[in-house]
């Protein structure tokens, strides 16, 4: 009973203040600008509790843009590992989803989900600020129903795979 109440309080807190960190793993800055636009007063993601944090240790949500370059892969993994559990990842933009126009390049690992587990994918080149908000809302709905955590528990049993350099 007490655990149930505690879990409900935790879920409430998670849904109402998803602090985010933004990482650009090789994006052209188009998606980054749209993310910034999402935080401006016109779209105001802070209505949903989204607040940009400077440190991964203070963040619950990792907002990733851009295809993962070889240089960026280890940094992305490091940022992800530094975030406290439970952590959620939102991939924003065509490149973050699949590599986009850079897919198959010699220096590209592919999308974000090739390197770290991703919870929500937002397609677009770049996505509209509303589309990013839509992705955030879908993530929050998933957290609220508990599916996100269940999926994460499933994932955590699988160690993060470090693909070999050049194995695209």
């Amino acid at each position: 009973m007490w655990e149930n109440v505690l879990e409900q309080i935790k879920t409430w807190a998670r849904v109402n203040s998803p602090w985010a960190i933004h990482y650009n793993s090789g994006s052209c800055n188009g998606c980054d600008i749209e993310i910034l636009a999402t935080l401006t007063p016109r779209y105001d993601a802070e209505r949903l509790g989204v607040k940009l944090q400077g440190s991964p240790r203070h963040a619950d949500v990792l907002i990733c843009t851009g295809s993962v370059t070889r240089q960026s892969r280890e940094r992305l993994i490091r940022v992800y590992e530094q975030m406290p559990e439970p952590k959620f990842v939102v991939a924003v933009g065509a490149c973050a989803l699949s590599g986009g126009v850079f897919r198959g390049c010699y220096n590209i690992m592919g999308g974000i989900d090739e390197v770290i587990p991703v919870d929500v994918f937002v397609p677009g080149c770049p996505p509209r600020p509303e589309a990013i908000l839509d992705g955030i809302v879908k993530l929050l709905t998933e957290i609220k129903t508990g599916e996100a955590l269940a999926a994460q528990a499933q994932r955590r049993r699988i160690p993060l795979s470090l693909p070999e350099m050049g194995a695209v």
Partner: protein, 179 residues
């Protein structure tokens, strides 16, 4: 009080203090003279009243959906009836987001596979298509998904799509082209 009556250390301290006092109290010639007059007050009052009555600039998006801009390009749509399977769209796509699988060219049995997660929404395929069978409507932009599998979209007749998904083309298909 005569400064010379003080001990030497205190004399120096007193001189320094004097100097500091003069430096800090002398007005700088460049400092702007700030005056507030009635016009400023009026402007401030105007702004205040405006801020009190105007609506917030924030869009209420997740709760209230506004239409996208007129020429916005979102998810690609394909019309089977017009398509000739020429594959120009496949050639032109910079992101390799389109495949056209030809099951039977004469019977117009094509399956159009579209990867939303690769698409850059440049609209080149729409511009290229001779038969105008491709379109990018403006309002289908709520595409976020929890699973990447949802981004592979098949257009075409249900049976044809199923046969392509099963990895085999129909036995009665005259030609087949793998993507």
């Amino acid at each position: 009080m005569d400064i010379h009556a003080l001990p030497a250390g205190l004399q120096t301290a007193a001189r320094l203090l004097d100097q500091w006092a003069v430096e800090t109290t002398t007005p700088e010639p460049n400092r702007l003279d700030v005056r507030i007059d009635a016009t400023d007050l009026l402007a401030a009052a105007k702004g205040m009243v405006k801020a009190m009555i105007h609506r917030p600039v924030t869009q209420r998006y997740p709760f209230e959906r506004l239409a996208a801009p007129e020429r916005f390009r979102s998810k690609l749509q394909w019309n089977l009836n017009e398509c000739t399977g020429c594959g120009l769209c496949v050639k032109d796509c910079p992101a390799n987001a389109i495949d056209v699988v030809t099951l039977d060219r004469k019977a117009k049995r094509f399956v159009f596979r579209y990867h939303v997660d690769r698409c850059t929404f440049c609209g080149q395929c729409v511009a290229t298509c001779n038969k105008h069978c491709l379109s990018m409507p403006q309002d289908d932009w709520e595409l976020a998904a929890l699973n990447r599998d949802e981004f592979v979209v098949f257009y075409g007749n249900e049976a044809d799509v199923q046969s392509v998904l099963a990895g085999s083309t129909d036995p009665d298909a005259a030609t087949s082209a793998a993507p």
